[in-house]
């Protein structure tokens, strides 16, 4: 956390709208990001009592998302679209005297949905509902790369397709979702990280204030999946930003702006070696990762001008 922001937490709303409990692991980056989003949204979050009275299905949507064997994707999508409609309608009905102004519906998406259910998601985006989509990315996509790049097991003769530099470049390029989404007609798209809370809160507020759809991709370090100690969640996320592995930028109305500039770019090796899942990653491939990261950042710098 930056030195200047030591006392800034005092300016944030003190109300806690995040429901604590056992749905997340120790030191979960995704839970931290979700909590920061609820803090930023503040008045935009509708209380559960209102929902119970007027729209009970929305409350049960959360519980149903855990039981995926019962609910097909279409049914979930229909409920989601209906709930966005309901929130937008109630936002239009509000008077100025109402303290809890509802601005926009916020939809949390897992990044894995982009891989497994791309059609459903494109269907959701085509609806042109006015909402803020927050996508939490805990980098499951890198796990396949690691397992492919790992050396062969002892004695076992196993043929694997060797990982090439192009594969690594493609996977890192696929992570750049915001420019693609911006082309689809979203008025505000951005990337953020749960390790930089004020940046994330600022972007969520911008996404709520803009007219039209908004999309934010949030990097959420995962102590269980990435294999590191739970107290290092924020430090690992900072390394991802400082090495240029996950550059922070925003695109509003077609113009791109980098929000966290790399003054002294650290080598990517620092970020990779902070996680124990990269322990069997061959060192000869690390220059390829560095080259891919540099290419993505150079591309962003070019787009900014």
């Amino acid at each position: 956390m930056d030195k200047f922001s030591v006392y800034v937490p005092k300016l944030l709303p003190q109300d806690e709208r995040f429901v604590s409990g056992r749905r997340s692991c120790k030191g979960c980056g995704k839970a931290l990001a979700a909590r920061l989003v609820t803090k930023a949204a503040d008045a935009a979050v509708i209380s559960e009592e209102v929902l119970k009275a007027r729209f009970p299905e929305l409350v049960s949507l959360n519980a149903q998302s855990y039981a995926l064997d019962d609910v097909t994707c279409d049914a979930t999508l229909k409920k989601l679209l209906a709930s966005i409609d309901h929130i937008n309608a109630s936002a239009a009905q509000q008077t100025k005297t109402n303290h809890k102004l509802i601005k926009k519906a916020i939809v949390g998406i897992n990044r894995q949905v982009f891989m497994s259910d791309y059609l459903a998601l494109s269907q959701l985006f085509q609806q042109r509902k006015e909402a803020l989509y927050v996508c939490f990315d805990n980098e499951r996509s890198i796990d396949t790369l690691i397992s492919k790049a790992a050396p062969k097991p002892f004695i076992l003769a196993e043929d694997r397709h060797p990982v090439s530099n192009e594969d690594i470049a493609r996977i890192l390029q696929e992570k750049q979702i915001p420019p693609v989404v911006a082309e689809a007609g979203f008025s505000y798209t951005a990337t953020a990280c749960s390790s930089l809370p004020f940046d994330l809160i600022d972007k969520v507020k911008k996404g709520l204030a803009c007219s039209g759809n908004a999309f934010i991709l949030v990097l959420t370090p995962c102590p269980t999946g990435w294999v590191f100690a739970p107290e290092k969640t924020i430090a690992v996320g900072l390394k991802a930003v400082q090495t240029g592995y996950f550059p922070l930028y925003e695109i509003s109305d077609g113009s791109l702006r980098i929000t966290e500039r790399l003054q002294k770019q650290k080598p990517v090796q620092e970020f990779l070696m902070a996680q124990k899942r990269f322990i069997a990653f061959p060192p000869k491939l690390i220059p390829a990762v560095q080259a891919a990261v540099d290419a993505v950042y150079a591309d962003l710098l070019q787009k900014e001008q």
Binding site: P9, V19, G21, K52, A63, P230, T233
Partner: protein, 102 residues
């Protein structure tokens, strides 16, 4: 075939399911040294569970039913006033595991 719940039952289940206690998986708890604490609130912001709150004097405390003992608050503290202390009583499942192992 699974029993289909009515919407009201689903609603009840979403409200009454006991998500709300982490008492049985924690080993350590954060303890604040109030003489060093500058009451900045960085620990409360960095807690993934929202388990840190301000008491009447303005100092910070952890809610023991929600705190998982991850230690992020200790790592983020500027003055180093937070230390992790183990609980006097181990979680109840640990005794069961030890019994099975022996």
């Amino acid at each position: 075939m699974k029993k289909q719940n009515t919407p009201n039952e689903q609603l009840l289940a979403s409200v009454t399911t006991n998500f709300f206690s982490n008492e049985d998986w924690r080993f350590e708890k954060p303890v604040w040294d109030n003489q060093k604490c500058i009451r900045c609130g960085v620990c409360g912001l960095s807690c993934p569970d929202g388990a840190i709150f301000q008491n009447g004097e303005g100092y910070y405390e952890a809610d023991e039913t929600y705190c998982k003992g991850c230690g992020l608050c200790k790592q983020q503290c500027w003055t180093g006033c937070i230390s992790m202390e183990p609980y006097a009583e181990p979680p109840p499942w640990l005794a069961l595991v030890r019994k099975i192992r022996s």
